[in-house]
Each structure stands twice: as structure tokens, then as C-alpha cells.
């Protein structure tokens, strides 16, 4: 079954999973269920700790330590292995998604159908404030690209991009000083944005941009329940549901809502 899927598509979804103070496997398992529901024919591979329900798995050790602020407390967070995606992926076309990116549609299959070899989100839609915007990398003029959803194909240029991504992570303090952001929390979003800018010799990266915003709920929005076709949220203004692909920043409530 697994190999047939791969032959049919030569495309798949890659999800990195490393537990920290939160059992990310539980969140990732729900993420896999959502992918299965909305794009059943695409194979899924987990990397790191195995996620139940995937077609293939690649164990890798814990990456270099990183930290992230959850609420008001800084905690350990293992997010620094994603630049290995190029070497790990068995497919010609791959979409790497964060386990907190929940599909509610087959929208991301458009990325696989596109002939662009590298695609990421640049615009983000803040669900809480009903606003679309673009963030910058620190104090620089480089627009931030989101590493949450990353489509790539195996080409020489893309391989170079992943090498640059790795180099930015390994020399993060240098880039933090250069572009004016904190070196204490390593953000893949910054690393991919700098890497792509370098690859394009700081020229336009418009051709690598997914032409719709990444829909995101902030830390202040709680997830109360997850169905296959909608996610239930609550914030200070009341309850609401979302039935499109959604990036959820409040991990604790997301964990609690996962069955």
C-alpha cells in the first residue's frame, strides 16, 4: 500500500515531531488525522518521534536545544531539525508542515500541482484581529517567510537553499546581530527568509511565495474542540469556528483539545 501511493504521486507530506514539555505526538497525531481526512491519497512521513497513522517514519535524534516562550514562560523546544527535510524526503515533491498546522481542506494540494520548486507563505492572516500583514526579519527590510508550510522539489537550487538554511541556524547569533533580532530564540521563519534571500542574492523572492495568507490564531485564542471539518475557538470576545487550514499558536489548549 505504501509503495503504491509513492509510485502514484512521488509526492508526500513530511511532519517533524519532537516532544518537549508538551506531548507533541498527541498534537501531531491529530494533524495526521486531518491530513488523511482532506487529502487521503498523499503519503505522510514522520521524522523524529513516530506519529501514529503515518505511512513512513524516519527516526532522528533530538536536535540542538532551542527555547520558545509559551505564555510568559520560556521552555525547551526542539524545532531545529527541519533543514534536514531535503535529505530525508523520499519524494520528488514534498510539503513540510508543522504539527500545529491543521488542515480543513485540500488547499495545499495546489502547492504540489504548482510547477514552482519552492513555496512558502509570506502574508499572514491574523484571525483574531481580521488583518492580513507581512512581518519583517528583525529590523531588516527582508520580509519574513513562514516555515510552517514549505513546499519543495528536489533540484540543485533547492538543495542549496537547505544548505543555506542550515548555515543560518549554525551561525544564528551572527545573523541576529546583522539583522537586529534576538539570538536567544532560534526561529526557522527567520532562518528560511535569510537563506532564501541569500539564494536569490537579496533580489525578489516573489516567485517562492504562496499566493494566499497563512491563517493563524494567536496565543491568546484557545482551541476548545477539533472536528474533522472545523476547529472551535474561544477568545475574550466569544466563541467561533474556523473551517479552513489553520496555524494554531496556543499549543497548550491545542494539546488539550486533541482527542
Amino acid at each position: 500500500m505504501r509503495s503504491i501511493k509513492r509510485l502514484q504521486h512521488d509526492a508526500g507530506i513530511l511532519i517533524f515531531n519532537h516532544n518537549s514539555h508538551i506531548d507533541y505526538s498527541k498534537i501531531a497525531e491529530q494533524c495526521v488525522k486531518q491530513v488523511r481526512k482532506h487529502i487521503p491519497d498523499i503519503p505522510i512521513m514522520s521524522v523524529g518521534e513516530e506519529i501514529q497513522g503515518v505511512d513512513e517514519h524516519r527516526p532522528i535524534g533530538l536536535p540542538r536545544n532551542n527555547k520558545k516562550v509559551f505564555g510568559v514562560i520560556s521552555k525547551e523546544w526542539h524545532n531545529l531539525s527541519r533543514f534536514h527535510a531535503y535529505d530525508i524526503s523520499p519524494w520528488q515533491s514534498t510539503i513540510v508542515i508543522d504539527s500545529d498546522y491543521f488542515l480543513q481542506s485540500d488547499q495545499i494540494t495546489k502547492l504540489l500541482e504548482s510547477s514552482q520548486s519552492l513555496l512558502m507563505h509570506r502574508e499572514w492572516y491574523d484571525i483574531n484581529n481580521d488583518a492580513v500583514g507581512v512581518l519583517n526579519v528583525g529590523k531588516s527590510a527582508i520580509s519574513m517567510l513562514w516555515a510552517t508550510v514549505l513546499k519543495f522539489e528536489k533540484t540543485k537550487e533547492v538543495k542549496k537553499f537547505f544548505e543555506l538554511w542550515r548555515a543560518v541556524i549554525e551561525n544564528y547569533t551572527y545573523y541576529a546581530q546583522m539583522f537586529g533580532f534576538t539570538p536567544h530564540i532560534i526561529r526557522n521563519d527567520y532562518a528560511v527568509s535569510i537563506a532564501l534571500s541569500q539564494l536569490m542574492e537579496f533580489d525578489s523572492v516573489d516567485h517562492c511565495v504562496i499566493p494566499w495568507p497563512i491563517h493563524t490564531t494567536r496565543d491568546t485564542v484557545d482551541v476548545t474542540a477539533i472536528d474533522h471539518d472545523k476547529i472551535h475557538f474561544q477568545d475574550t470576545k466569544g466563541k467561533f469556528t474556523v473551517n479552513f487550514d489553520c496555524h494554531i499558536l496556543n499549543k497548550e489548549s491545542l494539546y488539550n483539545a486533541c482527542k
Binding site: 488547499q107 500541482e113 510547477s115 492572516y125 511565495v209 494566499w212 495568507p213
Partner: protein, 92 residues
């Protein structure tokens, strides 16, 4: 109508609009396009074999304009019909 209810309707309509906006993007022969009114109108001026720029400014040859127009129109109408149906449910 209470303020809370009014806010809730406004938020649901915004979320619906965002969903439809994202769905408007479609892929045609590897290029990414938007099935909006502007593209529909632009498609009327094309001839077979013309080159157009997709949303990522990548050139794409439209071999059959009729096929492109049909796909575009279908997507456009499908999304707007859905928007209309959902809009009615929220607003009433």
C-alpha cells in the same frame, strides 16, 4: 440585535471571506492563478498560445484559451455560489 451577536456575525463573515479568498487560487498547467473577476475579464482578451504571468510572475503559455476560460469560470462561480450560500446562513 445585541452587540455580541453583531460582532459574531461580522467575525463569521470575515472568516468566510478569507476562506473563499484562499480558495480562489487554482492551478492551471503548473501556474497559480486567481479565479477573480479581473482574471475572468483578462481571459476574454487572450488568444490560443498567448503567454500570461501567473501569481508568482512566472510566464505560462495558455494553449487553449477556451479551456482556460472554462476552468476559470467554473472555479469563480463555484466559490461565489458557496460564498452566497454560507453568507445567507450566517446573516439570517
Amino acid at each position: 440585535m445585541s452587540q455580541t451577536r453583531r460582532f459574531s456575525i461580522k467575525r463569521d463573515l470575515s472568516l468566510l471571506y478569507q476562506r473563499c479568498e484562499a480558495q480562489m487560487t487554482f492551478v492551471y498547467h503548473g501556474g497559480l492563478f486567481r479565479s477573480d473577476a479581473q482574471t475572468l475579464s483578462y481571459a476574454q482578451c487572450l488568444q490560443d498560445g498567448d503567454t500570461v504571468l501567473d501569481l508568482n510572475k512566472t510566464p505560462c503559455v495558455i494553449e487553449s484559451v477556451q479551456d482556460f476560460q472554462t476552468t476559470l469560470k467554473q472555479k469563480h462561480q463555484q466559490i461565489l455560489n458557496e460564498y452566497h450560500e454560507e453568507y445567507k446562513k450566517i446573516a439570517t
